[in-house]
Point group: C2
Chain length 321, copies 2
């Protein structure tokens, strides 16, 4: 799955203004270029995002989170096909290394995805994660703004949904869809451990498998009066997708009607701001840290001549913050 | 699964010196108390760890990483039983929310674990993650040192193995064991995407299931001449555990003989030092950030009156770092 930017090195010669203008017209190659800069934590990505930011805020961002093998990618493919029928423009971002969108899937999956790769109305990108001090969420916010500026109506984010950073990513979405399967006893444990708190909609995928009805009943019991709706899908058989999209739309409408949309936007803005402040701080300050001193202190730690806390304090004190 | 510290509030009245002395004698209640402080990122945990640090460095730290449902917990249970037969003291740390050690498993699992919970030579703790700026790895290093100071011969860390923070945790181990199952097509993709780089040993668990031999052959092909050894286990049937332990021992011996042990220790010390510096920096500096200013800037971002990058820069500039 070659990335668009690999095909055009000359694009690097365009100015920030020119790239921003191309992105606003939906140019996938320009967007791919800037996404690479975002991944690498490069300053020039931020300069372009500054230009684009006033033109963002229109897309509806949907996070799909669930364990590897829960069929998130197939669901995203079906949702994308359905929304394309309604002439919507779609962006897909994935941080699941096993996603077919990441080029990490079996051949069959890759062939299935190819139709969307050739569709101009769909922009798909798997995010590699490196370069950011402030964690994964810094990438996601920036990538979302980029796709938003391209004019995407929906941005679908696929994450594995385990660990702090994944939960942060889910927090970047307007509607969070948690995906489980009939076999997902382990996933239910993970849900208990936090995903319920962030999920707006719950999907039991692979409803064609045995134990599906029991799983739905079990989840109904667990969810009780929480207000979280359960959707039943089979991405492979293309069943339940329209209902799920209607559910996403209903959630969006409810956010807007209740004033929760504004609250959620304020939260997202605050979260991005704090993540950027952390990134910014660490980038600035860690530059001042003396590499030789670190190596020497690490050696003293290894020899148990100094404890790690005293060593860290001595470095930070020297930085004068 | 009640935590020891819940049973004894009076323990809080002990001085840091007294707690440290108890921990050095292997006292589980004192260790549980300090682990809670570690989880909460409390300063008094660091004061005790400073006292304990000179007495650490003896334990062999083994990270077991693999997807939910790969049977890591059952493997850890079997390894623990085997090592207990050899009169070794064991510490278990888990950051997998679906682990039975976390109290998140089915009743059957919990009953199985109970034998170890009653064994004085085994200390088991599931780490909740909150309070640390520098990411999950800050907890792990501190928890490892605590268990090391208790006199544990082996410290087994269980992680889900996906995402940046999980990879960081695996990096805190001397020997990293990657666990997959015959069904784990998705996991293999994750392996390709990074786990191979950190894994010292590879285990195909659930060898009693169909497709097991094929999976081993597939992995042999993938691994080629990388030097990573493949072990075949069935934790449920208690098969292959002794071989795996011998493999862990052989890896340890090889680290020591080759001088790689010293290199790895230097890396671990450097990593912990940098994680602590980040934590320390962010804790110090973020205290100075004006909450009202953040809220106001987030609102301006929401209204698209200011972009996030300019907003973050203005905050960091004010901090004068």
């Amino acid at each position: 799955m070659s990335r668009p930017e690999n095909k055009q090195t000359s694009r690097g010669a365009l100015s920030g203004d020119e790239l921003a203008a191309l992105i606003l017209r939906g140019d996938a190659r320009a967007a791919g270029q800037v996404l690479t800069w975002i991944e690498d934590g490069e300053q020039r990505a931020k300069e372009i995002l500054k230009l684009l930011y006033p033109r963002t805020g229109r897309a509806h961002v949907v996070g799909l989170t669930g364990a590897m093998g829960s069929g998130k990618s197939s669901l995203i493919e079906r949702i994308t096909a359905e929304l394309r029928n309604a002439k919507k423009e779609i962006g897909v971002l994935t941080v699941d290394p096993s996603s077919p969108f990441s080029g990490g899937a079996l051949l069959g999956d890759r062939v299935r995805m190819r139709s969307h790769f050739l569709d101009q109305g769909v922009f798909i990108r798997s995010l590699a994660t490196r370069g950011h001090q402030g964690g994964l969420s810094n990438y996601i916010y920036q990538a979302v703004h980029l796709l938003d500026a391209m004019g995407k109506d929906y941005i679908l984010i696929e994450t594995i949904g385990t660990g702090q950073d994944q939960i942060e990513i889910a927090g970047a979405a307007h509607t969070v869809v948690v995906v489980v399967t009939p076999e997902g006893g382990d996933e239910i444990q993970a849900l208990k451990a936090g995903l319920f708190e962030i999920g707006d909609l719950l999907v039991v995928n692979k409803m064609d498998r045995s134990g599906a009805e029991e799983m739905v009943m079990k989840l109904r019991d667990m969810l009780g009066a929480s207000g979280v709706r359960i959707f039943q899908t089979s991405a492979n058989q293309n069943v339940g997708i329209k209902d799920l999209i209607a559910g996403i739309e209903a959630h969006r409408a409810q956010l807007l009607a209740s004033g929760d949309h504004k609250k959620r936007m304020q939260n997202l803005c605050r979260q991005q701001l704090m993540a950027l402040i952390k990134d910014n701080l660490l980038t600035r300050v860690l530059k001042k840290v003396d590499g030789e001193l670190i190596e020497q202190l690490a050696e003293e730690m290894r020899e148990r001549q100094i404890d790690p806390y005293t060593a860290a304090e001595s470095v930070v004190n020297k930085l004068g913050v």
